[in-house]
Amino acid sequence: MISLNVNKKAHEVAVDPDMPLLWVLRDVLNLTGTKYGCGVAQCGACTVHLNGEAVRSCMTKVSRAAGQEVITIEGLSENNDHALQKAWQEIDVPQCGYCHSGQLMSAAILLRENPNPTDHDIDLAMSGNICRCGTYSRIRKAIHLAAEMQQKNHK
């Protein structure tokens, strides 16, 4: 049995330690917000937080997450009210929506480490998340908006 802490809840899962974390999240824990895009860590759709860092769950064995803290898109906020989620809704960022769990999880790391990112910072942080629909300009706009929202809340 492997002990996992996912979105602040404890789980015991009877799986092969080599099973990709993505499989465990989706197929065993029914947390289907995290998506399978490429399976080789090239697209970012599977991005989750492992101990606060953005990892690609398609290439992360569940054994790496044993006893660690995992946050998925479902756990990014209590009530889907993270500034990024609100900004994403306000700007209406998604087109098909498939990449956006991963986009949000990567953007969350950016805003945590850089509350006022420039366009160049956004390039550096988000270049690992691919969007086939091409919503990049809206992603950029939403990140700037989320940064503003967070700064207003802190004043």
Binding site: A41, A54, M59, G128
Partner: protein, 191 residues
């Protein structure tokens, strides 16, 4: 005995001890040294080494040493930035399959204040850079010799499926490396 003479003798003895180590006293041989270094150079400028010693701040990737897809950045400490820190994808061991991230527990680039660039260096430049503690990660002679067995260095010979190995075995590389250093660490002439 005059003080100056005593100090000179002591200095000479001390510098002799510096050169005597587990690898024996240094035997300066510029010809052998340069010959050995050219073998070292062929390894250090092969993709398995050079890809993580780029001239810019984005690692290189693949046998053709293209810029790493998605352009992860060196960052201040060489470990990447934001959602693309090196260890986010490059885990402790190689991921299975082709075109997947190779692994090592210490996967990173050299830090920004000690970039240890291999890409684009001539043999003369690279030899000088490696022998100088100010540009080689503050390594002394013994540490340089030991570096041939560093974990990240060894990863070059266990690069994961689909990646070409360096042009010689690790054992041959290590022999050339030690020979180069213990015969004086000479740099080939500038051309």
């Amino acid at each position: 005995m005059p003080l100056a003479l005593i100090l000179t003798v002591l200095g000479g003895i001390q510098s002799s001890f510096k050169n005597i180590s587990a690898h024996g006293p240094a035997q300066q041989d510029s010809v052998e040294s340069v010959k050995a270094f050219m073998q070292v150079y062929s390894v250090l400028t092969s993709p398995r080494c050079m890809n993580c010693h780029p001239s810019g701040d984005v690692p290189l990737q693949g046998d053709n040493s293209q810029l790493h897809t998605m352009a992860p950045q060196r960052g201040t400490d060489g470990k990447g930035v934001y959602a693309m820190k090196c260890s986010n994808c490059h885990q402790a061991t190689n991921a299975p399959g082709v075109h997947t991230p190779p692994g090592n527990p210490k996967w990173q680039l050299p830090p920004a204040d000690m970039k240890m660039i291999f890409q684009g260096r001539t043999p003369h430049q690279l030899a000088k850079q490696i022998m100088d503690p100010k540009t080689n990660g503050h390594k002394n002679r013994e540490q340089l010799i030991a570096h041939a067995d560093d974990g990240l260095v060894l990863t070059g010979w266990n690069p994961g499926e689909g990646r070409t190995l360096p042009p010689m075995s690790h054992a041959d590389f290590k022999k050339a490396w030690i020979t180069w250093i213990t015969t004086g660490g000479y740099a080939p002439s500038e051309k």
